[in-house]
Symmetry: C2
Subunit: 592 residues, 2 copies
């Protein structure tokens, strides 16, 4: 069997940053060439970042992206890397619009492509066939589907090339891989992280390997892009579905691995398959083991032997996703520091810990903003948190700021409660405007679901680290993060009292969340059924919850859509995050 040395690069692109993204690709190509790779593959849209959204409808953007592909091929050649075939994802266009729309609305003029660069040229190109248009994806909106499978012949092996969603659907290009007698199936991806997604993705990869009798090489981008976090987790499995090598999650990485694949034969190709012969490449079946050692292993690489990185604990994966999403939002948008209100409660404590892990405690500014209703522990728990994390800490009492407004407008009740939250927002935004900090907002998914927050109050901020984390999971992650610190001999960042005490907005004397809301065990379970699983009211009641409670909760969810629409984005970690995943009307009368 011929042997190919494959290099899969998990790069972390920034949407639109053609120069920066190309730099990452060149760096990967240098390392791959140094390690003697026969083929380097990067993720879907690695050159432009993903998702590009309606930039795909802007002809000038497509022209710039096309020029960047050409320039990248020339640059690789100029740097002496031209012999290495590099597979890189990018949009291609502008093409003739696919549809005649009803107006000047954007219509698809682009394809989602993978180009193969070699010797300074684009030697082959594949266009994605299946365009996901559900959940967070709008690809049918912006892309024209391709209709031809590409097979690259390299070093005696046929490598079939497809993109992301193509792997998930029966039929289309994946259906032609077996008939094409390909030895390797290369899939380039921009597959966002979701809780337990590795439990779906990996079995799919192994199933496709067996179905198509190929070695499957799956490469995914990493990093945060707005509300999405890409986890990498690139993997190579053999024809029997066994893991050959797996890259770590959430970090940039070059995975280099030797695979033995079926020798290419000159069988007749099925329709809609194109074969392109690449120059050079291939170590042949006679290559000796010592050859691997000579190629060396660069730092951070998994090397060439079959090594699998075990996926970390579920809570660790979630924590890493939140940290990655937060870090990349800060960094990619040019911020250096973040600011957030510290209430002494669990949500702000967890957000502060995420922020510190993301950008370093020295770049985190925490502000305690006690009111006349604040308990002693709200102040002392915030102090304790700041100490434990080592963040920049200040106290701004709000009573003197609230009182003049309350008096002048004669506010009371809920209006007066909201006023306190809004004065706090003014403080955070004022400090942000003075010092350039990004404001983090600390609301969790449960709060967002039922609208248990003050709009333009505690909801203000550019990024919401735990917006997709239900309250019970916030506690669970807090406990995990502390245990994780203890296991490493570090100070647990989150005060035990913030975890243990009953949650309260402290907007009136003695208030606790459970005055207004059902117990979080019940609330989160109802929300999971109604929001995440899209069950109807009756179906939720049938799960065993009180009808009255279900009606109360679902009504709050339906009525809070306007607030959610005006909320900050934050990292998606569930299968149904608020935002692009769940598109609901504001103006809506529930059917019952």
């Amino acid at each position: 069997m011929p042997r190919l040395r494959l290099a899969l690069a998990q790069s972390n692109p920034l949407v639109g940053d053609l120069a920066g993204n190309a730099e990452q690709i060149v760096t990967a190509a240098r390392a791959a060439a140094q390690q003697g790779a026969d083929l380097l593959a990067l993720g879907e849209m690695a050159l432009t970042g993903y998702p590009i959204e309606d930039l795909a409808s802007r002809p000038s953007f497509l022209i710039d992206a096309g020029a960047a592909v050409t320039a990248l091929a020339a640059r690789l050649e100029a740097e002496g890397l031209g012999a290495l075939p590099v597979v890189v994802g990018h949009p291609d266009g502008p093409h003739e619009p696919r549809l005649l729309g009803t107006s000047n609305a954007p219509t698809a003029i682009a394809q989602n492509c993978a180009s193969v660069l070699q010797h300074g040229r684009v030697v082959a190109r594949y266009a994605k066939h299946h365009l996901p248009n559900y959940g967070v994806f709008d690809e049918y909106r912006i892309f024209i589907p391709g209709d031809e499978l590409l097979v690259l012949r390299l070093g005696g092996v046929d490598v079939a090339l497809i993109i992301c969603e193509d792997l998930w659907r029966d039929g289309g290009p994946v259906g032609r891989v077996l008939e094409s007698d390909a030895g390797v199936l290369l899939v380039i991806n921009a597959s966002p992280f979701e809780r337990d997604k590795d439990e779906v993705r990996l079995p799919l990869v192994t199933r496709r390997a067996r179905e198509t009798s190929t070695v499957v090489a799956y490469v995914n981008i990493v990093g945060g892009q707005d509300d999405l976090v890409f986890d990498g987790d690139s993997v190579v499995v053999d024809e029997r579905g066994a893991i050959v090598a797996r890259a770590p999650q959430f970090v940039e990485h070059l995975l280099v691995v030797d695979v033995d694949a079926a020798e290419a034969a000159d069988t007749e190709l099925p329709p809609n398959v194109r074969r392109v012969e690449l120059a050079g490449g291939g170590h042949g079946s006679t290559r000796t083991e010592s050859g691997f050692a000579a190629a060396g292993t660069s730092e951070g690489s998994l090397g060439l032997r079959p090594i699998a990185v075990p996926a970390p604990d579920d809570r660790e994966q979630l924590w890493n996703a939140l940290v990655t999403g937060t870090r990349d939002y800060v960094r990619k948008n040019g911020f250096r520091s973040v600011i957030l209100g510290l209430s002494g409660g669990i949500d702000s404590a967890v957000c502060a810990a995420i922020a510190a892990d993301a950008v370093g405690a020295e770049n985190v500014y925490g502000v305690s903003m006690p009111s006349r209703y604040s308990s002693d522990h709200s102040r002392s728990d915030a102090d304790d948190l700041a100490d434990r994390i080592g963040l920049n800490y200040s106290v701004e009492a709000i009573a003197e700021l609230v009182q003049p407004v309350e008096t002048q407008l004669a506010l009371d009740g809920v209006a007066a409660e909201n006023l306190q939250a809004r004065i706090r927002a003014i403080i955070l935004m004022g400090l942000s405007n003075m010092h350039g900090h990004l404001v983090l907002t600390t609301g969790n998914k449960t709060e967002l679901s039922v609208g248990y927050s003050t709009i333009y109050g505690d909801s203000v901020g550019g990024f919401a680290p735990i917006k997709d984390v239900p309250k019970l999971l916030v506690w669970e992650l807090a406990r995990w993060r502390n245990e994780h610190a203890i296991a490493r001999g570090k100070t647990p960042p989150i005060p035990e009292n913030s975890i243990a005490k009953p949650p309260s907005a402290e907007l009136r004397p003695g208030q606790v969340d459970q005055d207004t809301l059902p117990p979080y065990e019940v609330l989160d379970a109802i929300l999971e059924a109604y929001v995440d699983r899209e069950l109807g009211r009756d179906d939720v009641v049938a799960l065993g919850f009180e009808a009255e409670t279900v009606d109360f909760v679902t009504r709050l969810v339906d009525r809070s859509e306007w607030k959610r629409r005006q909320g900050a984005i934050g990292p998606k970690i569930s299968g149904m995050a608020f935002g692009r995943d769940r598109r609901m009307p504001i103006t809506y009368r529930p059917t019952r």
Copy 2:
């Protein structure tokens, strides 16, 4: 030629309000029956409202909608209206999911249908074939396409039935209408208003009439639903494309019209066409003219003679769209009153006038919130506006509220300017919380484009009446509204001084917009090219603008996406409104 009496009902549905929407349909059926109609048609999704967005992925919603169809058929029969065939739009499902998605993301389980109700039953059903998935539309995301054209045989005439987008695309069902020998092409629609859309829509209808040799009956819903405004403008054109009857825009209306159509023949049907014979109906070719008079014309109806309502002046259409969108957002979300800040400037003046036209001046609360930097005219122009419109007016000075925050936090520069806007926001939100008014935010499209506003300051509110109106058009509409008043002997609502004076945010002494921004004539032209027409930076420069100005403006647009994401919704009147029309990343480095 046989003659059919068609009734087209422009109803104003509310998404999810199955009972209320059904009530509108029954009312229309009663009036149509009274006028001797042979067939009544309502708009696309008239039973559930449009767009239902991801409610289409919720099985319980589809089951409820299905039950409402059945109940409506039974109710019509019970009320003695069963003989009249009623064509009504609704979602149908749940069906087996169309796609195997990558996760638990919503997949299409519904069809976008038109059901024909007669004698207490659903006698025929058509599923929309072409699913728009561009601009504001996400139908490919949520619906499974149909594949069969429906022809209803009624009173000796074959009536082909299609839905909205089906009319716009060559091929598919509209391609089979000619071969089917249908005499009438009935199209039910939920087609949102856009500036100049009537100039596209009407020529399309007339072209299709000539192409298919049919009388085309086009019925559209009316009213506001979140950011969309449906304008009705239902129309009937004959086989030669001449307008037979046209309904007024933006108002509920029953258009009843007699059409002479080709007699049905028993030609063989082309593939993918189903013909269903309806009971009764048809006035036959011998029906006398006196029969029409006997049928009567109900109030508000255009009657049975070929009457065409001329579409109003462009500015009047735009004004009506803004008023309709605002009125329906207020009404459908259960508000009775609105509140807004009155700065003495043109934007808040126009918003106040729209609000008064929408919900009555007695339900509009205007608050002047002068600061130490406010000019005398800002106060006097606000007074004048309040007088002219007759709205509820109050003054809340902000200096005493700003000062304590400014001092405590040592704010200056932009931070201090924003603080003033945020204190105003706190006042409006406080009064809203106390009195239940909906807060209107008065930003225009130009401001939104370049981020010339204070987030959590002047941007706060549940609805933004002029968010899709560029600054120059704001002035134009103000002048038109005043002229419109004068022409009717009424008081012009907008103070001449608010129109004439140079615009200013008045956040520092002597500030005017043009200190920071290019002249609005230049700015709006650049924005139209960059945002609406999606031209690239170089293409905009090629139009003749200074490169430096183009770079300055486009950079502001790109950097303001995070603010726009957190902004209120408002009525779409252009082909490219911020929101669902234009989906852009926040995290984004422009290519140049």
